[in-house]
């Protein structure tokens, strides 16, 4: 078996007296989609934030290709090839789509000793990438604030994919989307996975996870029950683990198994 691209070992994260993560271990492989499931408050966002450099883990280690990684801030993680689309989007409503698309990665053009933001290139690439994702912009200077939640999500994903990350983290990308855009996002996950990118896909929708996932890890109140591979686990079992078993069983009997 190949070595995992990223190994996260016994990650703990405490916020003051709140223990958001109580020792979570996950291996992430190149070319695979790793689904992270769990109810609200389970610690999914906190977990991936330790990987994207937003939070420093209180305890535990992160190995990138077997080497110890310490990210001081998101810039370090981005430089290492880890692109994250956060649940609460990293998009700025007052700025144009193209300025947002290249935020932190601005293309520059040198004129004499000075280097300038290459707006022509940025605008062109933005329009192309948006068209690929099926979003028609009025123009690259359209403000992100005028886009719908789903469209913003798509811009964020397109941006992460465009910058050729080795690891793509998507935190609940489908929860605000309509049917067509969800299909679009799932298709995108499939495409980038086939290009050899490691995808971490967070969701609490088992159907979405089953559609693209290679491995599944369920988080519950800051802990994990371990990772299952595709084919080793059924949607029902996943659903049960997410809700903590019993409660759902009783719910299911009263609702006639529609959950």
């Amino acid at each position: 078996m190949t070595q995992p691209l990223i190994q996260m070992k016994n990650i703990e994260k405490h916020f003051g007296s709140v223990i958001a993560l109580a020792g979570v271990s996950v291996d992430i492989h190149a070319g695979e989609c790793h689904c992270l499931l769990g109810d609200n408050g389970a610690g999914k966002s906190t977990f991936i934030k330790t990987l994207s450099g937003v939070h420093k883990p209180t305890r535990g280690e992160i190995l990138f290709e077997g080497r110890d990684m310490h990210f001081a801030d998101p810039r370090d993680a981005i430089a290492a090839g880890i692109a994250t689309v956060h649940q609460h989007l990293a998009m700025i409503p007052l700025m144009s789509v193209s300025r947002n698309f290249f935020m932190g990665n601005e293309p520059t053009r040198k004129i004499g000793p000075f280097s300038f933001f290459d707006h022509d290139l940025a605008n062109r690439v933005t329009m192309q990438e948006m068209e690929k994702m099926g979003i028609v912009l009025r123009g690259p200077d359209q403000a992100v604030g005028t886009l719908s939640g789903g469209e913003r999500q798509t811009v964020a994903i397109a941006r992460a994919v465009h910058f050729g990350a080795r690891v793509l983290i998507l935190d609940e990308p489908t929860s605000a989307l309509g049917v067509r855009q969800t299909a679009n996002v799932l298709a995108t996950i499939d495409t980038v996975r086939k290009q050899g990118v490691a995808v971490v896909f967070i969701t609490h929708n088992v159907r979405h996870a089953m559609a693209v996932g290679d491995r599944f890890t369920v988080l519950n109140r800051g802990r994990t029950y371990g990772t299952a591979k595709r084919g080793e686990i059924t949607p029902e079992e996943l659903q049960d683990m997410m809700a903590g078993g019993q409660e759902l069983a009783t719910l299911e009997s009263s609702l006639g198994s529609t959950v």
Partner: protein, 372 residues
């Protein structure tokens, strides 16, 4: 024939009219205001001397003063922060130049350079405290408003037993760096204009035959230079994108890899730089430094920036707009003087136009973000 790929427009994306499109720009208020102000004074104060060469130079200098501090305040506000210590910084910087250059007798260029270094460091300290503590910059810089003003009064009283230090013009005589702030350029051109009869010349006295305006003060050169540099930096560079991002949503910007803290601290330093340029030009012009210089300048700068279309909440604005805001300021303040209107009414005007500008900006923001 190969089918040509066509851009399919989404039928739900309404095409916005060119008129509305032109409106959605931060400079709108500044442009309209500038036109209105010039039309108004053109109609009601044309014969007052406001538009002859001396009159033009008069309101240009005042506008340029506002412009210098407005550029700094503008970039800082777009980056999401305020600096209320600008006025005190102006007084402090002027006083330090006087103490170094006159009291201690250092060469003027050394005095000026050391003052710049000192003031920019204080700006950096302002910024450092803001990003480290996460306190509103309003409070942090309010503290520095008092701290700096206190020192500006205390130091000359302790050292010289007075609150004004003069003799700067003498100390700066022939100094290369002082000339960069106090001199004029284009003397030959103005002499020629005087000889050609385009502008008036003195008819009597020791300067008979010389033009009444004998050059463009360096103050104006600095103002225009800062506007151009500020505008290019904001709209045409990577750092400019970071300024917008840092003020638009610091958290989102940070997550995208923008070094938000560095951007904010740099903008505090730039604001301090602008205040020091203002101070340098002022002490060279007056030949003295006074403990009360720069009073209320921070608010005048912020008002000019808001008239220029920047949002108080950060992330949106324009240097050109702020420059126009400063121009409106200068023209109205001096225009009322030329028109013989009681000068206290200038404050009434300020309050009214500030209110209008903020309401207009809020409206424009809604159009941009599509909020209701």
């Amino acid at each position: 024939m190969a089918d040509t790929p066509q851009i399919v427009m989404d039928e739900r994306v309404k095409q916005i009219s060119p008129m509305r499109r032109a409106m959605i720009r931060p400079e709108l208020g500044g442009i309209v205001g500038t036109i209105a102000v010039f039309v108004f004074f053109g109609l009601f104060a044309f014969d007052s001397g406001m538009f002859n060469s001396q009159g033009i130079m008069n309101w240009s200098v005042v506008s340029a003063q506002f412009m210098i501090i407005a550029v700094g305040a503008c970039l800082l506000m777009i980056a999401g922060e305020f600096d209320l210590s600008v006025g005190s910084m102006i007084g402090f910087a002027g006083m330090m130049m006087a103490i170094f250059g006159v009291t201690l007798g250092w060469p003027m260029w050394v005095a000026i350079l050391v003052t710049f270094a000192l003031c920019i460091s204080i700006g950096a300290l302002n910024g450092f405290i803001v990003v480290r503590t996460g306190l509103p910059s309003f409070i942090v810089t309010l503290a520095f408003l008092f701290i700096l003003r206190g020192f500006t009064i205390f130091l000359p009283q302790t050292i010289e037993r007075k609150t004004i230090i003069g003799g700067i013009r003498e100390a700066a005589e022939g100094d290369w760096l002082a000339a960069l702030f106090g001199g004029t350029i284009g003397k030959g051109f103005f002499t020629w204009m005087g000889e050609a009869g385009i502008i008036a010349t003195f008819e009597r006295g020791t300067r008979a035959g010389e033009p009444v305006v004998n050059g463009i003060p360096m103050l104006i050169v600095w103002a225009l230079g800062l506007v151009v540099v500020g505008h290019v930096l904001l709209t045409r560079t990577r750092f400019g994108n970071w300024i917008f991002a840092a003020g638009g949503d610091a958290e989102a910007a940070r997550n995208s890899g923008v070094p938000v803290n560095r951007v904010k601290i740099t903008m505090f330093m730039f604001t301090a730089f602008c205040a020091t340029v203002f101070a340098a030009c002022q002490v060279m012009e007056f030949g003295s430094a006074g403990a009360d210089r720069g009073l209320l300048k921070e608010f005048e700068a912020i008002i000019a920036v808001v008239i220029g279309g920047a949002l108080l909440t950060g992330g949106y604005g324009s240097v050109i707009g702020a420059a126009l805001g400063a121009l409106i300021f200068g023209v109205v303040q001096q225009g009322l003087f030329f028109a013989g209107v009681e000068s206290s009414l200038f404050r009434v005007f300020l309050g009214v136009i500030l209110l209008f500008a903020v309401i207009l900006n809020t409206y424009i923001r809604r159009i941009i973000t599509g909020e209701r």
